[in-house]
Symmetry: C2
Subunit: 325 residues, 2 copies
DNA sequence: GTTCTATGTGGTACCGGTTACACATAATGA
DNA sequence: TCATTATGTGTAACCGGTACCACATAGAAC
């Protein structure tokens, strides 16, 4: 592979001039441009980003830390981030943290060594000291990690309220709320939204805490269905809603005739279930794209206009609920 | 951030000695090790991978090119690759090609500039010239891109045969085969496997070509169900099987009592549907992990023992089929 | 005719590692 | 005892860019 000195020699100019040409910086004559362009073409020259990074101490890598890309919530996010990153000339590095603090710290360390330009963190645990004092831009997604770190999320409380209202509007009076792990920001917010909706409305509620896990959700709901009688479920994720649907099916309970279900997330899964799952959709793509844009602004040293962004959720009514006239 | 010269100075040795220490190369006295370790510790020194890459012309980045990470097939693959990469000290770069040739070429070019150590390509189109003569190791996954490039895939033909046999064993005599896009290696193989299974068995077959897309699958199957009478469907992906399930539901056809369905892939989706989708599972994790291992061997300059690996598929029997005694 | 500014170019130190080579010294073997 | 080998360390060139600084020229301003 040709390097910048080869190009300079072929074009009969200095490396400084070539560098200026490549970066559109400083003064260059038209003649020089022409002759350099020709040399670049002929030698099929591609500048080494590594050398550039070493020199400028900047890179065009963005690190994305997610708990597990297999969780259907994250691919869409990753996709959006990658799209934006690509448009701005950045490359996305994917890291699965498994919610493991040590793994996460390690990633941060490794990527720092590789001069990443910034991080987007969609991680879910409490300790966040290792993100402080990093002098690398960070944007948090879905969950606030520290007041000093900009973050972007869905308006979970309002989303959950809307979803629950919809159950109420559809006639449910006896509702199971499958809340997510307490202590987890988004899960807490959704639970709060659920409570907002049912408060003072003479609704009988049952509340269980259930991790975002299909099998566990199925098992828990199976048990609940034997114990109490309910006509609606507000699940705080599509995956747990899917588990609930399966439990209902096993118990011979018809959805939505005997039991209505609302999920949360708006992932592909929700649309591909049968019957189609009514769900509170997060605009994951928008969230990811916005996070990426914010990060890139930070990388470029710009000030953010907003350091905290809440994206409204949208109710997608499908076949697990029946709106009443 | 401290650099290697700072460490050398602090330890009272030369940079060469520090470098040797860091890379476990050449002779170093115990005393030198001790004093360098101390300096590294004190300065919280982390070697710059960028500088190292520039010098050695090697990097610890692996590029993964997939059509779209949102397709549930790929996250598991990506996850496996990332796990193995991490274990060997590599970092994964995620690229979504959208099956777009130009985008793909661009990624290859960009990543080359960034000195990626190798590529894993799970891409789906025919032109592959741009991968040739790259002098960077490449491993193809799911689809053979060129005879010179090692590849790893599921034994799709045999998998499809097993899946179809299962429909036969379960009593189906009138089967719809939703084959994938013709010209696409895996889709062709699965179709061949289907044909292997039904050949000479006096089975009535209907064949439609259907992209791996939920909505399209649903629409196509809805139409088919009005036109012909079938008692089994072999879908060549879980997503299209899910579409078929929805179509059956809309048509009031009970699965599995009136219509049995077998999917393909073994993604999460299959297990989270209601009823649970019987499917031919690819061992995606194993596939990804093996691809990563192969790539790393290539990167290290080792010869591969096998340049083409077929991983057996496994039938997961769930509730969309009923095995008969 | 000076001074100033805009334009254009080149030389070279630097980013932070690796490594070939030179040069010690100690241990081993004949 | 001397040659040979194993062990240990340092100097400096190199990887391929960037960018500071010096310098040259031409036209404008005074």
């Amino acid at each position: 592979m040709a390097n910048i000195r080869d190009v300079a020699k072929a074009a009969g100019v200095s490396v400084a001039t070539v560098s200026r040409y490549l970066n559109n910086k400083g003064y260059i004559s038209e003649e020089a441009k022409r002759v350099i362009a020709k040399a670049v073409e002929e030698l099929n020259y591609q500048p080494s980003m590594i050398a550039r990074s070493l020199s400028t101490k900047q890179s065009t890598f963005i690190g994305l830390i997610v708990p597990d890309i297999v969780n259907p919530f994250f691919p869409e996010l990753a996709r959006a981030i990658e799209d934006v990153a690509l448009a701005y000339g950045y490359t996305l590095i994917l890291c699965n943290s498994d919610e493991d603090l040590e793994k996460e710290i390690n990633y941060v360390k490794t990527l720092q060594q590789k001069y990443v330009a910034g991080f987007i963190v969609a991680s879910n645990h409490v300790e966040a000291e290792h993100y402080m004092g990093l002098d690398i831009p960070i944007v948090a997604i879905d969950r606030r990690i520290h007041s000093s770190i900009p973050y972007i999320a869905t308006d979970n409380r309002e989303g959950a309220r809307i979803g629950t209202e919809h159950l109420l509007d559809s006639g449910c009076r006896n509702i199971l709320c499958m809340r997510g792990p307490s202590g987890l920001g988004p899960a807490d917010d959704r639970f709060a939204g659920f409570m907002d909706a049912v408060k003072g409305k003479n609704i009988e509620t049952h509340i269980i805490e259930c991790p975002f896990h299909f099998d566990i959700a199925e098992t828990m709901v199976k048990k609940i269905l034997q114990e109490v009688s309910i006509d609606g479920i507000f699940a705080s994720s599509d995956v747990t809603a899917a588990g609930a649907m399966k439990a209902a099916y096993s118990a011979g309970i018809h959805v939505p005739n005997q039991l209505q279900i609302v999920g949360y997330d708006g992932t592909m899964l929700a649309s591909q279930l049968t019957p189609g799952l009514t769900t509170v959709a997060q605009d994951l793509y928008r969230m990811g794209a916005m996070a990426a844009r914010m990060l890139i602004e930070l990388i470029k040293g710009q000030e953010l206009t907003e350091r905290e962004v809440l994206i409204p959720a949208e109710l997608l009514i499908r076949q697990t609920t029946r709106s009443e006239a």
